[in-house]
Each structure stands twice: as C-alpha cells, then as structure tokens.
C-alpha cells in the first residue's frame, strides 16, 4: 500500500493562462518526504477522485510540494475541482511521491515539454542546473501567455538554455523541432512530457534521426487513472477487434466471464488482477483499470492493456484485440 500524507493548501496562484500552481505543506510545518524530478503524487479530491500530478519547482526545496494544474475543458472532475473549488488552508490527502520518470545519468540532456507537460521537466531543469549537467529545455505552448514558470525560465541558466515556442506564431513541434534533436549521442538523453500526439511525434522524429530508444524517456501527464468509484460499475459493451463481435457486460459481470460465456478463450490465471495473464491490448475506448499488476506508467501510457478478469470501461464500448 502506498503511504498517504495529510497536507494543507498553502497557496494557489496563476501560473500562466489557464494554469494554477498549488503549494502543499504539512499542516504542522514539518518537512515532507524528499523527492526527485519526475516524481508524482496522487491527490485525493472530494467525491473519491484521485488524480496524479507531477511535482515541480525546485527539488532541493523543503518548503513543501508544488504542483501545477492546467484547466482541462474535458475535465472528468479533477482539474475542474482544483480550478473552481480548492482554497488555501484546505486539507488534502496525498500519496508520498513516487518516481516512474527519473533522470538517468547523462552527459547532456534534452528536455521537451508541451503545455502543462512542463511540470516534471521544469524540476528536471532545476536539478540539472544544480548538478552542472548541460541541458536544453524546449517548451511548446500555443500562446506566450500560456507558458507556466515563464519568469523563472526567462532567467539565464549557467548550464542550460531554455527556448519557448509558440504554435500561434507557427512554431509548432511539427514545424520547429530543435536542432538538439538532430544530434543523437550515446551520453545524451531525451525527456518528453506533453500530450500523446506531441510525444509520439517527437519520439518518432528522434528515432528517425538515429536516437536509441533507450535514451528517450517519457511519461504521459494526463493519466486516465480513475480510482474506481462505485458509480462506474456501469454496463458497457466489449467488442472483439478481429471479428467485430460485440457483447454487453453487465454491472455484475467481468469482461472475462462474458467472453467465456460466449465461447471465447480467455488467458486467465489469478482472476484477481495481480498476475497480468489476461492483459489484452485495447484499440478503442478508455479502460477503468482495476488491476494491481500494471504500473501507473503502464496504466497511463499510450498503449493501453486491459486486465479482463477485473477491469471495466469508462466508455460505452471497449474494443480489444483478443484472438477469437
């Protein structure tokens, strides 16, 4: 079980258009557990919502944790609550920091962020500066006003350079990839954070320029990780991508049970979401992950897999590529 902490909202302030920075401290002012750039915390919000946010700011600071949350028009409740209801002085439960996106040893580092994906990479830039590791930070936003940490990033670094690109000025990642990406080297690592489309594009561009996949690191920053509220035990349909066959899954049935009842062979072992034997690729729909075998990175990654023995669907239909 992950340890949880009680924290207090010490301050909330605007950090570029549409973003709020939130500083969390221990209610008694005690030091919080240390963290390293790339780490995230689970924030428990009213209504049973649990959302993951990367820690940002200066990783050496013990004054509390800083997160920065973009207002998401398609919010399923997390960013809307933080933007509309969260107040200074309020208490929250969070998890201790956990890092699935750590900085690895490198001679040089290229950081590429889009939108609110800046949060872990800004912390990485601060750490690299402190450690004297040369880096370049490339930050893509639509308009200049949307950049978070614009003031801090505008100050010169001794070991790094920061460039902010504005797609409203034609500097989208599709048109303005940094020169740094054209020079892969064994000791150079690339860290990406932003929407899936951005990360896929940059990753593909880097690979075609000769980057080794091992030197490219990324973490999706918009995990579709719901905390399984009881209300999501809704009926949905499951579709086999290969044949198009489609069956309803009632609230009290598992996907595996429905498939077996219809003569489809399901690779089952533990039947409680711990072993991963029944993990099956998803081609359409959003998984309501209930298993405990996949890591948070896998559950929020671009290639989704569903544990058929226990997980459900957040969308009305889930299409899976399981052999009939």
């Amino acid at each position: 079980m992950r340890n949880t902490l009680e924290v207090m909202v010490e301050g909330i302030w605007r950090q570029g258009e549409g973003n709020l920075a939130v500083r969390l401290t221990a209610p008694d002012g005690a030091a919080l557990p240390g963290w390293s750039p790339g780490a995230h915390i689970d924030v428990h919000l009213p209504g049973g919502l649990v959302r993951q946010y990367s820690l940002t700011g200066n990783p050496a600071s013990r004054r509390g944790y800083l997160i920065c949350v973009a207002r998401d028009p398609d919010s399923r409740g997390g960013s809307r609550y933080i933007h509309e209801s969260l107040r200074p002085g309020q208490r929250l439960t969070i998890s201790t920091p956990r890092n699935l996106f750590p900085l690895e040893k490198a001679d040089r580092v290229v950081l590429m962020a889009a939108g609110i994906g800046i949060t872990p990479l800004y912390a990485m830039a601060r750490r690299l500066e402190d450690a004297g590791v040369p880096f370049t930070l490339h930050y893509y936003v639509r308009h200049p006003e949307q950049a978070a940490f614009r003031y801090q990033l505008g100050h010169p670094f001794r070991f790094g350079d920061c460039t902010i690109y504005h797609s409203s000025a034609g500097e989208s990642p599709r048109h303005a990839l940094p020169e740094a990406l054209t020079r892969p080297a064994t000791g150079t690592r690339l860290y990406l954070c932003g929407p899936d489309g951005f990360m896929d594009h940059v990753r593909q561009s880097a690979l075609t320029r000769g980057w080794s996949p091992e030197n490219i690191h990324s973490e999706a920053f918009q995990p579709p990780a719901p905390s399984a509220p009881a209300s999501s035990d809704n009926a949905f349909t499951v579709t086999l991508a290969s044949t198009g066959q489609r069956w309803p899954v009632a609230a009290d049935q598992t996907i595996a049970r429905v498939l077996l009842d219809n003569g489809i062979d399901v690779p089952l072992s533990c039947e409680m979401g711990i072993c991963g034997a029944c993990l099956t690729p998803v081609t359409e729909g959003t998984v309501d992950h209930r298993d405990s075998v996949q890591s948070a990175a896998e559950k929020s990654g671009p290639r989704q897999q569903v544990a058929l023995c226990c997980s459900r669907s957040l969308t009305e239909n889930l299409t899976i590529s399981l052999a009939p």
């Binding site: 956990r98 409680m272 711990i274």
Partner: protein, 345 residues
C-alpha cells in the same frame, strides 16, 4: 579485450536468442579469493572459461588454447602466465601469448592470444560478460552497504544447484515459502500469512518492501527484537539473475544478502552469496557460512524438483496468489527484456 562475434557455444542448452540476451549481461563466475595465478575453471552459459590472475589482474578467457584447442584448465602456471599442457604455449596479461617454446624467436601472431572477456571485481566476486554491447552496456548489479566501513564482508562458498537460475532467484524473492521451508533455520511455522506488499519498477528491475512479523534471528537463538517488532525486508531485483535482500533488524542493525545466480547452463546454477552486516561481528565467519549453507540446502529440493525446469513467462501457465507479486514482477521484467515466452529450453 579482443573483439569477436558473440556465438552461442556448441551444445548450448539455451534458446540461441535468449543466450544472446543473457550474454550481454554481467554474471559472477568465481569468488575473487578463489582466483590466483593457477588456471581456475568456470562455466558460464555453457561456455567453459579459464580464470587466472597475473600481476593482481584477473583474466577471464575461453578455456580453449587457440593453437590446438586443449583446455588451459588442464595446464599449470609459472610467474609469467598459464601454460597449455600440449605444446607449452604460455598466456599472460590480457590473455596475450608470451611464449611459443617450439619457435622461440618468431614474433607472436595475434591469433595466438586467448579469447578474453571483460572483468569486473565487485562484492568479492569476479564478474564477466560474454557479449558486451558497447553501445548500450549492461549495468553491473549493486549491493547496499558492502563498501560501508561499519559493515563486515563475508562471502559464502559458491552453492551449486541442479536447476535453472530463474527458478532459483524467484525462490529467493518468494516470501510465502519461509514458514514451510525455512522453519528449521529462522522462520516461524505458525506465521505463514503473507502481508500485502507491492513491488515498484526501477530501471534495473524492481524493489519490494515487505513488512512482516517473521523474525530473522536463527531458530533457537535468543530473540532480541522488541515485542510487535515489524521486520522490513527490502528486496532489490537486478534483472536477470541477481537480487539483494536487506533485512532491517531492531535499531540500526542491518543484514544484506546478495543472491547472485550464475547460469552455468539452462539446468545448472552456481549461486554466489556475498553478505554484509554490522552486528554480531564476533560470530566466526565459518558459522555464518554454515548457517547460510543450511538455508540454501533447505531450498535445494524445491528448486531442483520444480517442473517445468524453466520459468514460464507466460503467466497463464502457472497459478498465482497475492503473495507472488514479486514473482509476477520478476517474470514481467524478464519478458520486457525480450526473453522467450517459455524461458529457456
């Protein structure tokens, strides 16, 4: 090191693709204290090796004289190297031939040098890598506390198991077998329930923090733990075959055991066990060896009789219970490294 194309040895017991993946990793082949200037025999991934030391430097090479193929482990040594018993060719630093008795005045062609492998000495062990990937070198496993001045270093004699290294390592990670297999040495037969724990993925494999009330004092010894003491066992799995366990005793007392399984073949494993601890320093090292040998012996029958001998990476092929979270993480980790669906032939 001489560059060469990695090729699975003749009569290789591994799937060739799995062999190549394993050959890119570091494996221990001997205790450093067991390697001196005499030729020392070891087998790694079905490849017979000769180990020797010259001017303090350990050399690991294929156990084949490049002249007529006689194993150098049949030979002997002098101050300048190891000598092939067939024609007296002698090999010294970096495996270089430095004498051809039959034609002493002729320059020595490079082809007469031994085929050597890179060497690292760490945790009292000699580690080697049969097919290093220079673009993406494999990391050597790390051991907590070994270099800590307050800690004593102990290296148990190697322990041979007639089983696959993956099965042996999975047993080391298994927290549910203590009460059944180790109750004569340290575990409690009446305390078999496994508290929940959850492994965390790392770049080298995973860690698992396991808190339990099962003591780690030898059975029969005075239990010095305060009542209700919870023992933290931190496992660090370095894929593919090396794990460390740090047992947190009361106070600042710590015991670190490395289980470094060397895959001799797909069916034979030589287990090395460096130990670091900062308490009971008065207990003779011989007793520590004997105690650990008893624990390893308790595991032997299980590991040697498990079927299939290989480790099924397809998780549907065996049943799993919540206590197996580390075993599951281990198999998932090996699968991510690309090993075969049904690991090892």
């Amino acid at each position: 090191m001489k560059a060469h194309r990695p090729t699975p040895p003749a009569h290789c017991s591994f799937d060739p693709e799995d062999w190549l993946r394993l050959a890119r990793c570091w494996h221990p082949v001997a205790r450093a204290c067991d390697v001196d200037n005499k030729p020392h025999k070891a087998v790694l991934l079905d490849e017979p090796l000769v180990l020797y030391r010259i001017n303090g430097q350990a050399v690991v090479a294929r156990d084949v004289c490049p002249h007529r193929g006689v194993p150098l482990t049949l030979g002997f040594h002098d101050e300048a190297g190891i000598i092939c018993p067939y024609h007296g060719l002698r090999f010294g630093e970096d495996g270089r031939c430095n004498r051809i008795p039959a034609s002493p005045d002729q320059p020595i062609p490079a082809k007469l040098n031994l085929m050597t492998f890179p060497v690292e000495e760490r945790y009292g062990l000699v580690w080697t890598c049969l097919a290093p990937d220079t673009d993406n070198p494999a990391p050597l496993p790390t051991m907590p506390r070994w270099h800590d001045a307050a800690f004593q270093q102990i290296n148990c004699p190697p322990f041979d198991v007639n089983g696959f290294a993956g099965r042996q390592v999975e047993g080391f990670l298994d927290v549910a077998h203590f009460a059944w297999v180790h109750s004569a040495t340290f575990a409690d037969p009446d305390n078999s329930q496994v508290p929940d724990y959850s492994p965390q993925e790392t770049d080298y494999g995973f860690t698992a923090d396991y808190w339990s009330t099962v003591s780690n004092y030898p059975s029969g010894a005075e239990d010095r733990a305060p009542p209700d003491f919870r023992w933290l066992r931190r496992f660090e799995m370095h894929l593919p075959f090396t794990a460390t366990l740090t047992v947190h005793f009361p106070g600042e007392d710590r015991l670190v055991i490395m289980n470094a399984a060397s895959p001799v073949s797909a069916r034979k494993t030589r287990m090395f066990a460096p130990i670091a601890r900062n308490f009971d320093l008065h207990i003779p090292v011989g007793e520590v060896h004997a105690f650990n040998l008893r624990v390893f012996e308790e595991d032997r029958l299980m590991v040697e009789t498990q079927r299939p001998e290989k480790l099924p990476l397809d998780l549907t092929l065996e049943a799993h219970i919540p206590a197996d979270r580390s075993s599951i993480a281990y198999r998932r980790g090996l699968k991510k490294m690309g090993f075969g669906e049904f690991f090892l032939v």
